[in-house]
Symmetry: C2
């Protein structure tokens, strides 16, 4: 069977592909909402049925939380083994009143399918499910073995998968993990993401007096925890965005010239980018473009602060307590543990007198860099170019997908981050969508990827 007959079959089935996605999106699998537990289970069941219908070996793997779905095609001796990782759980939908249509009643508008999970990640996961199931339904074996590992807890931190991964290592042994949970570079410009930033998140709580004090009777006599937190947070970063914690940049591997050159050729429009997010000017470390700063430079962001009176009107108090949540995005080679140690020392050195404080690290994960010269990358490049009609660009992504680093560590495999979404798909926001044409292109690119990987010489596959 030729690849073109597969592609024709996919084309012929496109209405059913969309109908499948609509069905899956109707299931409100919000993993963080305990009242949705049965919906999360139904979403896993739906996927199990889909795999079973295509004849894959399938198993529902229980966890302490929501289960994982594992499905496998037949082994192909000598050919590469690919794990497709994704998730069937979705983000909460609040604020519900900002949705134009019901988040769980998938609706087509202007060539987009609107629903919670459309792009993140049911729609993107399903591109690989469809390509595999259709291939097999066409009566031919896949040229490679594909193992699916689709979890139900990505939106709540993947903790169970991270912990269970070593036990699953033999079963998930592979040459390459394929993940479609990201985006194209821009509308019409597909991309392969070869780098991710790491992350380290913290909560800092500063305590002063045992209760809120009257700022008239006590102002001038005690350190104000809200001022203390401003001092100490502002000591961590200067006004150009350069982090001031000693040692913070020690392990940073700077961008290489070839990367910077390649990114210079991307269709960047910083003014349009600023406009799209509602700011008059971009901001950040001098000497780097916005893409360089977002993708490959470490950053510090305060995610939230709370202290004292926040309601209407005036309440002239010295708050008893102030607290802040903040995060660093790390670049590959920075170690979250070392960052925490440097931060602890910085806080001890810079905390104003008269207050007590507690730093609570939440989670940390290193960044990731994939080998852009691997044969898997080359195969993905060809597949995407054929499916999207345009050569993909190689980019990094500023976000963090901690499980990717775990896959590299535990499975010792390559990673291919192949995103079919767009930056305005509103993942995690109201009116999430997935462009229907990108869904179909993703299915084609997926099938073409299996074909390309199947052409690798056996001796080269490991």
């Amino acid at each position: 069977m030729s690849m073109s007959s597969i592609l024709n079959a996919l084309e012929k089935d496109s209405d059913r592909h969309l109908d499948d996605l609509v069905q899956w999106l109707r299931i409100a699998s919000v993993s963080s909402d305990s009242s949705r537990k049965s919906d999360v289970a139904r979403a896993a069941d739906w996927l199990m049925d889909k795999f079973r219908g295509a004849g894959l070996a399938v198993e529902l793997v229980p966890t302490q939380g929501h289960p994982m779905v594992i499905a496998e095609t037949a082994p192909v001796p000598g050919a590469p083994v690919v794990v497709v990782y994704g998730h069937y759980d979705v983000q909460p939908v609040e604020p519900l009143d900002q949705w134009i249509s019901d988040p769980f009643d998938p609706t087509v508008r202007n060539g987009n399918l609107y629903a919670r999970g459309a792009t993140d990640d049911k729609g993107q996961v399903l591109t690989h499910v469809q390509s595999v199931c259709d291939w097999i339904a066409n009566g031919e074996p896949l040229p490679i073995q594909v193992k699916f590992l689709i979890e139900g807890e990505e939106e709540v931190g993947s903790e169970n998968l991270e912990r269970m991964l070593p036990d699953l290592a033999d079963r998930m042994a592979c040459d390459c993990v394929v993940i479609s949970d990201s985006g194209q570079y821009s509308d019409g410009q597909p991309a392969i993401t070869y780098g991710l930033r790491g992350i380290a998140t913290y909560e800092l709580r500063i305590d002063g007096p045992s209760q809120d004090l009257h700022s008239g009777s006590f102002g001038g006599a005690v350190m104000n925890p809200a001022i203390a937190i401003c001092h100490v947070l502002s000591s961590m970063v200067d006004k150009t965005g350069r982090i001031q914690i000693p040692g913070y940049y020690d392990d940073v591997v700077d961008l290489v010239a070839s990367e910077r050159e390649a990114w210079q050729n991307l269709p960047q429009d910083e003014a349009a980018f600023a406009d799209s997010i509602g700011v008059k000017e971009l901001f950040g470390e001098t000497g780097y473009t916005a893409d360089e700063r977002r993708w490959a430079r470490p950053t510090f962001d305060v995610n939230g602060i709370t202290a004292g009176h926040q309601g209407e009107g005036v309440k002239t108090i010295i708050p008893a307590t102030a607290s802040a949540k903040f995060s660093f995005r790390l670049v590959p080679n920075q170690d979250p543990t070392k960052i925490t140690a440097a931060l602890e020392k910085h806080l001890a050195d810079h905390m104003p007198p008269g207050v007590r404080y507690q730093l609570s690290p939440d989670h940390g994960a290193p960044g990731m860099l994939a080998d852009t010269n691997s044969r898997y990358m080359a195969a993905a490049n060809t597949a995407i170019e054929m499916a999207f009609g345009k050569k993909p660009v190689l980019i990094r992504e500023g976000g963090s997908i901690p499980i990717v680093t775990r896959f590299q560590e535990v499975l010792g495999c390559d990673c291919l981050l192949l995103g079919w979404g767009l930056s305005d798909d509103n993942a995690h926001s109201p009116n999430e969508k997935f462009r229907i044409a990108d869904y179909h292109r993703g299915i084609r690119a997926s099938a073409l990827l299996w074909d390309q990987l199947g052409k690798l010489q056996p001796s080269e596959s490991k």
Copy 2:
């Protein structure tokens, strides 16, 4: 009739005095709670009845909010005229679950009467009401004229009284305003307060991107409003508590040597003070004692900050907005209007790029200094020494009572701030109380004050 017979009469009536206060405190006159409007009116009526019963000329003066009660004793030609100012409204009671007994079911424990309004200000107002009413009931005219101006909106800012005061100026013409809405210096050490700090309050809102952004995808490209507010707030004050706004100290009149000497002799125990408010060490401008800093040095306090994610768990965003409420306590001679202008310039000079901001001044009032050498002060000194058995100390208070400055401006009179409360009376907090013995001492001191003022030579009374 001798003063000792008046004091005997007061002693004989002490049970009724307490009973009166209990009755008044049962009325939940929370001025900020619109559902309590009829209770606020009942509290005014209760006071009207009390005055009427003693034969005073009395009037309920309506305002756009809650009414004022004005009552007058007969004029005494050639003798001083005193206005007693106070308020019959009370603070809200929340958090209710922290009250040991119902805030509106006055309860005696360990010699204290617990109820909302016990010390602030019904209990303290009633000391003057009782002394005047009992004096008259004893069959003798007061040696001076006393005019009561008791409002129902002190806890919501006294805006109506401030606006109406010029129209009331003729009626309230007096030599001296007496206010008992503060405290003794410490347990067993009565005080006369001769200075108050002024105040200037603001809200600063900083806007960045049009919505919260993912700190992975966007971190490094935009100014984070929560970081911007930390930078700009920390630029306003250094780590010693010294305010960094150019011009801020220009009009500050420093403490005079005699004041500093007098305060050095107060029974100050900074370690015990720190302990009482739950901090290990006090903090503030170098070169000043804690009392000097609290009473007579200008300060900056952040009253509240809000930005981004404040709930449980991690949400790695760049918040769209951050805002803070903050206040300055000013010393006499500092002008809130000039402070606002200096602040505006400072913000313009120090605001990080990439954000928009809005400064909203709320209210401002200058500080107050009374003449410590006045004959009214001397009369109060004698009266308090006789009633409390100890000479009062002369102190300032760090809080602000804007209406006091208005009285000085509009009525051109002296002010006597005679507080009978204690610092642990929990005004504005759960379990507000008033020591019953201090209530009775306050009544005696009030009667003795009328006596002392009546002894002033007619020619000297203005």
